[in-house]
Each structure stands twice: as structure tokens, then as C-alpha cells.
Amino acid sequence: MNPYVLSILLMGLGLGTTVTFASSHWLLAWMGLEMNTLAILPLMAQHHHPRAVEAATKYFLIQSAAAATILFASSTNAWLSGQWDIQHITHPLPTVMITIALSLKLGLAPLHAWLPEVVQGLDLTTGLVLSTWQKLAPFALLLQISPEIPLLITSLGLISMLAGGWGGLNHTQLRKVLAYSSVAHLGWMMVVMQFSTSLTALALLMYVIMTTSAFLTFKLLKSTDMNSLAMSWAKTPSVTALAPMMLLSLGGLPPLSGFLPKWLIIQELTKQELGLVATVAALSALLSLFFYLRVCYCLTFTSSPNNLAGVAPWRLESKQISLPLATSTSLSILLLPISPAILSLTLPLF
């Protein structure tokens, strides 16, 4: 893509999220969300592949519907309470509408059906931006309004965890697997939001780090489905050795850092006397763990000539800068021992 166009689009993306972060008026927040949507659309469709254009179209329609709902809900709130302040939504009707609209923007179940096909249509870099950067602005709004409707929030969270776990089980395309993993992690973030917004932010931060590592690993290995992961051990033995650790961290296994948000969220839920929700949440993590483990099997634990289903892709020299991959993989494996430090950094902020 033309570098000037690319820089304008990336600046638009950055500006949109920043505007939403900085706003206290609903219209300005809505404007930031729309800027994000519009800036990413050319990035999605840049390859002019039919699936990419279809993904861009679906993304546009979904996000516009969600943004229109936000506009409608904030107007309703302005009518009912006389002001446009983001933190002062008190009436339940606009609160519910905005929560559902933001869930549609994020891809929380049961409003998650668009996410796998959209992520599948994109290349890995744009998929990374969609899964990480585009989640920040809606979460900023959700954390500020902190909706106090326990039934809605808990059911959004639990259904997302279960839908993300079960939905990802039968896929071989890695982008779809990562989309369902995104749904499941968003469920974990939602379920604790009414009790501790800082834990939601911590879960979001850990999710961003681990997903960045996952997308960058698959980009380095130039593979988008499980069969083409098979010969990675010959191309990059070190990445092949560390990627299962990163994937198991996404699954939430101790002693990797992915365990930290799950542990703290279960602790908060048990403090709030929601032991059953905590147990269901913990067991639903096993569903997602199965498909992460399957990717690990294809990648590292079986190797030629034992893996007959694998194909050998072209071994072209990779010009990818390795620093983001190295940083995100190290962080996604090693952060658990310093959890008190991480907590002291995130808890006062939110």
C-alpha cells in the first residue's frame, strides 16, 4: 500500500481510539469509534481479495449498526437525564442498549457471529489490529459506564466463555481459532467488570500481549492453517519451542502469565459469593484449552515423518522484525512471578 495512505489510515486508527479515550461527551466518543471503523476498512480490503472485501463489508455493517445504537442510546439518555456525560448514565434503558451495542462492537456472545468470518478474511497483521487495538476503545467506554445490571453482564460473560470455547473446537484455520479465543477472553473480562474494573483492564492487557504474540508467531511462520504449521520446527526451532508455551498461556495454565487474570477473576468472583459462576468459568477454560493444545500438537509435539497431514510451505527468508514477537512472547510466558508488581501498577489506575 502507498506509504502516505498507510500513514493516514494508521493515524486515523490511533486518533480514533485516542478521541474515545479522552472524551467525556457521548457524541465525541461515538465519533472516535466511527473514525476507527472507517480507518480500518481500507486496511482490511487492501488486498482486493473477495474474502477480504466481504470481511470489510461485514465489519462495516456490524460496526455501523452498533455505533448507530450507541448514538440512539445516548440520545435517549440525553432526553431522560438532560446531559451527555459518559459517566452519568443512570437510567437502565440506555445502559442496557449501550452495553449491548458495545458488546456487538467487541464481539461478545451472543453477538459474536461476525467475528470469525471477519478475522478469517483478513491477513494476519490486520487481524492483529482488529483483535487488539479495536477492542481498546469500546472497553474504555464500558469501563467508564460500569453497568450495574448483574444479570446482563454475567450472562454476556458466561455465554461468551462457553460460545468461544465450543465454537473454536472444530476449526483448522488459525484465524478462526484466534477469533473464538478472542470471544472467550472477552467473556472473562466481562464477568468481573461489575466488581473490579481494574481486573477487567488487567485481563485485557494480558489478552492483548498474548494475542499479539500469537498473531506475530503465525505471521513469522507464514501459516494460516494447522497443516502448514507442521514444518515449523525446521524453519525456526526456537519459535517452535516457545510457541506452545505462549499458546498454553492463552489457555490459562499455571505457571504461565495467562493464569494471572483467571486466578484473580476467580478470586474476585468467590469473594462476591459467586462460586458457581467461578466454577463454570474455570471449567469453560478447558474447552478453549483443547483447541490451543491441538495447535500445539500440530506445531511442536508431532514432527515429521510422524505427522503425515502436514504440508511443507515455501521456506522463504522472513523479513519480519523480531523484536515485537520476542517481547510479547517473553511477556506472555514469564509474568506470573511478578504479579504483585503488575497488580500494583494496574490496580490504582482504573
Binding site: P244, W263, I266, T279, L283, L286, F290, F301, L336
Partner: protein
């Protein structure tokens, strides 16, 4: 504690920086040194108190025998793996030994933990290196399924444990082992308390394994390479027993009523898995099911919560760890020569490998709990305390002892005595390394005859 932990952690740089000629010898020498130094834990003050105490790690008479067993096992695993890893590229050998060492580090931290969440994190952390050893270095295609069964059975049991521990932390404020024996009894009157009780124990019962949840064990033990089988049989099962012994102190008085079905399952499992052993054709599978059988006795001994029960359970855990690991090493000597686990393929080995037959004989006798070995001491104490708890258990435990003797003898006679089958004629003679491995398993067992008080625990 750091005197053992830091050298074990420093084994990792040593593995990666050694030259390929010195790798196995240096790791063996250093891990043997660490194992010998760890014996010093056994002579710390044993008066039901904690030693080597700091706020995170400590040892007490319950964890010390298991810690020493863990440290003792690392050089044995390295000895056992040397042959079958020799043909792999050097970096894969380093990864394999690193996995064994990291497993060792997690196990030392698990047995030494004073706080339950630390124990939990280390308990789960041992799953990852074991999973990688089983699925990456196992020899048959069934290893993939074995890894899935292993990971998911254990996790499905231990995630409710995490919730239960956090609920306990909310009500008592602290999860330290140092204070749980002195804390006031919990108010456990509601139905939810019963589910909490089950949540606390389920993880350890699956790990031990209890008979109903034991399906992962034959798969994992059989498909793992020799070091994986050794560490699984000798130590990882004992993590379940150790956890159960630690947490059952808090679970009174619910345990008196709620433990009935689990004791029955455990004892029935002794008889059932013993009977399955009599029909096995796969040698490693036979030893795996015999592990389930012995662990059923351990589970029953712990659940009745008497001093003799606890002591018997601990002694049986240590003795079974050494015996089972030795039997897996013997089965591996067969496997390395014939590349088959079928018992009937390699018969009459006493004529072909007479020196190895001595070890087969001695470890078969250990498996069937021959006096004066500590295996008998453990089994006898558990059977007596179960008889005291209820006279009827003698039917099941007596039948279990009889069946154990039968299948152990069946295993010995099938592999060692009888006609020589033709595949056996061209196998290579025993290596000195294998003899060293066997004597290193047997020597602790024989020495423990002289001072069983070392592995009694604090109950007696």
C-alpha cells in the same frame, strides 16, 4: 531449601552450555550430588514441626521423604534416558533434560510450599513438562490421546480445587499450611459445604488416581518414554497423596460421612485393577494398573484419617515410588531390545539375561510386599487401620493382597521363566548403566528396612 533449589535451577544453564561430549555425564554427576545433599533433610528435627522454615518454603516430616524421593529420582531418570536419546540431535537432548530438570524444580517447590496457592500453582506447573515429555517423546501414535487424557483429567479435577481454595481464603483469611492445623474448625453445615469438601479433594483423588477417575493413568504411563513413566509413577502420583494429607486436616468433620463412597471406590479399585493386571498382555500397562492398585490402598489409608493410616500411606508412597519406577526401568530394558511391550514376545529372559533376572526377582518381591521391605510395612499398617475402621474391609484388602501377589508372580514368570522365544536370542547383553540404575533403586529400599522412622511422617 535454597541449598537444593538453587543448584537444581543452575542445572539449566549447565545443560545448555555443556559440550555434547560431557552433557549426560555432567548432568548425571551434578544431579547425583544434589540428591545426596538432599538426604540431609531427613535428619532435621522430626518432632511434628517445620524445618528449613521461611515464609514461602519449608520442610516437615511429611514432605521430607517425598522431597528426597524427588531429588533421588532425577539422576535415575537421566541414567535411564541416556540410551534411547543417544540418536537424537544434541539440542533435542538438551531440551529433554531441561524438561526433566524443570519438572524437578516445580516438584521441589510443590512439596516445599507452605501456602496452598503456591502448592496449587506448582501442582499444575508439573503438568506442562510432563505433557511435553509424553506427547513429544512418546513412541506410538496413541501418545497424543494420552496427553489429552492426562491434561484434561487432571485439570478438570484441579480447577474446582482452585475455586475451593479461594473460598477457603475468604473465610479463614490465610491459606498457609503453617497455621491450618491450629485454626478453629470451620462451620461446615450447609449443602454448599459438602460441594466445597468434594472440590477440595477431587483434584488429588484424580491425581492419585482413584479407581473411577483412573483412565488417564494407563494411557499416560504406557505412552510416556522411560523418564516420563518413572517420574509419573514415582512422584507425580504422590503429589495427589501429599495434597490430600495436607488438606484433609481442615475438612473435618465432614470427612467422617462424606468419605464413605471414596473409600469404597478406592478399595474396590484395588481388587479390580489387580484383576485387570492378571489379564494384561502389555508389560507397561500391567505395571501402570498395579500403580493404580497400590494408590487405591494409599487413598483409603488417608481417607480414614488415623495415625497408622497416614503413616502407612506415606511409607507405601515412598516404597511404591521406588518399586514402580524400577519396574518401569526393567520394562524399558525389554523395550529397548525388542521394541515391543508385549510380555509374551520376550519370555525366558533368565536364560538370556541372567543378571537382570535378579533385579526382576527382587522388584517383583518388592511389588508383592514381601517382608521386611517397607512396601509390606506400608501395606500392613493401612490394612490394619482399615480393619480397625471396619472389619469388612479385610475382604477387599485381603483379596487385593492375594491378587497383587498373583499378578506380580505372573509378570515375573512370564518374562523370566519358561521357554525362550525366538526374538530373544539376538538381544544385546545388559549394560552396566542398567545395573547401576537398578541398584540405585534397590539400595534406598533396603536401607529403609533398617530405619523406617525416616519415612514415617509425623503421625507416629
Amino acid at each position: 531449601m535454597l541449598m537444593i533449589l538453587t543448584p537444581t535451577m543452575m542445572l539449566l544453564p549447565m545443560i545448555w552450555l555443556s559440550s555434547s561430549a560431557h552433557l549426560w555425564a555432567s548432568v548425571l554427576a551434578h544431579s547425583m550430588t544434589i540428591a545426596l545433599v538432599s538426604l540431609s533433610w531427613l535428619c532435621l528435627p522430626m518432632e511434628a514441626g517445620w524445618s528449613s522454615l521461611n515464609s514461602f518454603i519449608a520442610t516437615d516430616p511429611l514432605s521430607t521423604p517425598l522431597l528426597v524421593l524427588t531429588c533421588w529420582l532425577l539422576p535415575l531418570m537421566i541414567l535411564a534416558s541416556q540410551n534411547h536419546m543417544a540418536k537424537e540431535p544434541i539440542n533435542r537432548q538438551r531440551v529433554y533434560i531441561s524438561l526433566l530438570t524443570s519438572l524437578q524444580i516445580f516438584l521441589i517447590l510443590a512439596f516445599g510450599a507452605t501456602e496452598m496457592i503456591m502448592f496449587y500453582v506448582m501442582f499444575e506447573a508439573t503438568l506442562i513438562p510432563t505433557l511435553i515429555i509424553i506427547t513429544r517423546w512418546g513412541n506410538q501414535t496413541e501418545r497424543l490421546n494420552a496427553g489429552i487424557y492426562f491434561l484434561f483429567y487432571t485439570l478438570a479435577g484441579s480447577l474446582p480445587l482452585l475455586v475451593a481454595l479461594l473460598v477457603l481464603q475468604n473465610s479463614t483469611g490465610s491459606l498457609s499450611f503453617l497455621t491450618t492445623q491450629f485454626s478453629p474448625p470451620l462451620q461446615l453445615h450447609t449443602e454448599a459445604s459438602k460441594i466445597w469438601w468434594a472440590g477440595c479433594l477431587l483434584a488429588f483423588l484424580v491425581k492419585m488416581p482413584l479407581y473411577g477417575a483412573h483412565l488417564w493413568l494407563p494411557k499416560a504411563h504406557v505412552e510416556a518414554p522411560i523418564a516420563g513413566s518413572m517420574i509419573l509413577a514415582a512422584v507425580l502420583l504422590k503429589l495427589g497423596g501429599y495434597g490430600m494429607m495436607r488438606i484433609i486436616i481442615i475438612l473435618d468433620p465432614l470427612t467422617k460421612q462424606l468419605s464413605y463412597p471414596f473409600i469404597i471406590l478406592a478399595l474396590w479399585g484395588v481388587v479390580m485393577t489387580g484383576s485387570i493386571c492378571l489379564r494384561q498382555t502389555d508389560l507397561k500397562s500391567l505395571i501402570a494398573y498395579s500403580s493404580v492398585s497400590h494408590m487405591g490402598l494409599v487413598a483409603a489409608g488417608i481417607l480414614i484419617q488415623t495415625p497408622w493410616g497416614f503413616t502407612g500411606a506415606l511409607i507405601l508412597m515412598i516404597a511404591h515410588g521406588l518399586t514402580s519406577s524400577a519396574l518401569f526401568c526393567l520394562a524399558n530394558t525389554n523395550y529397548e531390545r525388542t521394541h515391543s511391550r508385549t510380555m509374551l514376545l520376550a519370555r525366558g529372559l533368565q536364560m538370556v539375561l541372567p543378571l537382570l533376572a535378579t533385579w526382576w526377582f527382587l522388584f517383583t518381591l518388592a511389588n508383592l510386599a514381601l517382608p521386611p521391605l517397607p512396601n509390606l510395612m506400608g501395606e500392613l499398617m493401612i490394612i490394619s487401620s482399615l480393619f480397625n475402621w471396619s472389619n469388612w474391609t479385610l475382604l477387599l484388602t485381603g483379596a487385593g493382597t492375594l491378587i497383587t501377589a498373583s499378578y506380580s508372580l505372573h509378570m515375573f514368570l512370564t518374562t523370566q521363566r519358561g521357554p525362550i522365544t525366538s526374538p530373544v536370542l539376538a538381544i544385546e547383553p545388559t549394560h552396566t548403566r542398567e545395573h547401576l540404575l537398578m541398584i540405585l533403586h534397590l539400595l534406598p529400599l533396603l536401607l529403609l528396612i533398617l530405619k523406617p522412622a525416616l519415612i514415617w511422617g509425623w503421625a507416629l
